[in-house]
Amino acid sequence: MAVSALIGQRLKALREERNLSQDDLARLFGFKDRQTVSAIETGERRLSADELLLAVRELGAPLDYFTDPFRLVGEGRFNWRQSNVPPAVLGAYERVAGQIIAAFRTLGTQVGEKPPLVRHSLRLTKTSRFEDAAEAGERFAAEHNLGEVPAQRLAEVMERDLNILVLMVTPSHAGVSGAACRLPDLDVVLINRDEVPGRRHFDLAHELFHILTWDAMPPVHVEDATETGGANRVEQLANSFASALLMPARIVREAADWRSLREDALIARLNATADRLEVTSSALVWRLASLELLTKADARAISASEAIRNNGHPTGLFADSRAAGRPALFSKRFVEIVARAVEEGRVSIRKIAGLLGLSVDDLGSLFAAHGVPAPYEL
């Protein structure tokens, strides 16, 4: 975006935030009429340096507010999945996440990427039944050929087929599981890459539901990261969708004669099946209950059991395999855009490294982790 268009957009956002009219701004700038303000806001008329300074002084916003392309202003709605994260901490991380997302959008435009032409959505509403959401999840897995372990290729399919940017991140607080973010021209899902694979995959499928139903049922800004959805109907629908997508009925039914299994044998099969599907045993328990392969009472008892904690790897084996399989930061698509922008001199290395929370010298490792050729080094 040209700087004149960016300044105009930011000026409009600030004017609206302050409940000022275009006439109010015209008086502030000393313009004869509001049409000049309108032309500035649409980027048709450039603001001079003196006018920009006047805006800084009179509106009490820093210069960067008007000119920094690496921030989201007046756009970008988030849905956070988290556990016990203080609001101030989450707010601070939302600004960081916004910078990363804005960087992708700005740099993508700079290197000639166009925003997706089409936005996908599910035909579901708040009054849809849980069974409808589950059927949608099953169909999504089938129609996108996610195979016998749908979790494995979900992120790839979301990026490639649906143009949803999926970013693996390390949030400032461990309680942040993930987020969906909707911009006018971009959908993004953020996933805490330090969580166990089962939780990561569930968060991803859950946030996919929010992205695909955002207009019909806008998600709340902050929700608790559960696999059962709490009291919120939209979250329950999202969990039904995620659960069915990651654990299609056919695959779950074929995994065992669930009704015949008891106690240790049931627990062992639960943990083994959850490991194979790369979900949590707890999520599998509730999936079995929804398919009536377990009673609700049994599901409640088992889900509270220590025997399925960490999918039955109490000594930390699951945690070890998580570390080994920890996804690389961000995504290949994201890193490719960054590498191109750096190579073409669209953004300085110190700038992008700082935005991504990395040192200048760590950028090389980031490119290598995704198999992306590194641009020049400083």
Partner: protein, 171 residues
């Protein structure tokens, strides 16, 4: 080549590299070096955003600089309005360009990042861009530790051609 006698504006990257190869004394002995406050901060431990960091003594650094400029909002605004791509630079690089563009004297700028070089190309100031390699060479200093590619003269010339072509500045 004849040594440049006017002011040389140096950015954080150039200072850190000069320090890394033990060329700072030679550099400030040969030229009237100037920078901006942001770059001085970015060279200090904890702010370099480099791994490993160079131990750059602030007093020694300041002693070698002829001037450290405080950049005003008016200078920043003027630079951003003149070329919005200045916003794609790091704070130090941005401030250094704002300072450079506000000057009326003959200066040269040593800042190897392609995004910084691109500003010079876009504003038809290619002739003001110098490499650390060239500065040291003209000052008669041969570093024992080799410079990284991006600080070398051949890399600068090649990169300026590439950037100029992309910006449509040469046929």
């Amino acid at each position: 080549m004849a040594r440049w006698r006017g002011p040389v504006l140096v950015d954080t990257n150039a200072i850190i590299e000069a320090w890394r190869i033990d060329a700072w004394r030679a550099l400030c002995g040969g030229y009237a070096l100037e920078t901006v406050e942001e770059c001085v901060i970015e060279t200090q431990t904890g702010y370099q955003n480099r791994r490993p960091e160079q131990q750059i003594d602030r007093d020694a650094l300041l002693a070698g600089l002829k001037a450290v400029h405080k950049v005003s909002d008016a200078e920043r605004a003027a630079a951003l309005v003149r070329d919005g791509e200045v916003a794609m630079l790091d704070e130090g690089e941005k401030a250094l360009w704002a300072q450079a563009l506000a000057r009326s004297d003959a200066w040269v700028l040593c800042g190897p990042d392609k995004a910084s070089l691109r500003i010079g190309v876009r504003l038809n100031l290619r002739g003001r861009l110098v490499s650390l390699d060239r500065l040291l060479d003209d000052a008669g200093f041969r570093p024992k530790t080799p410079l990284k590619d991006a600080y070398r003269q051949d890399w600068l010339l090649r990169t300026l051609v590439e950037l100029a072509q992309r910006e449509g500045k040469i046929a």
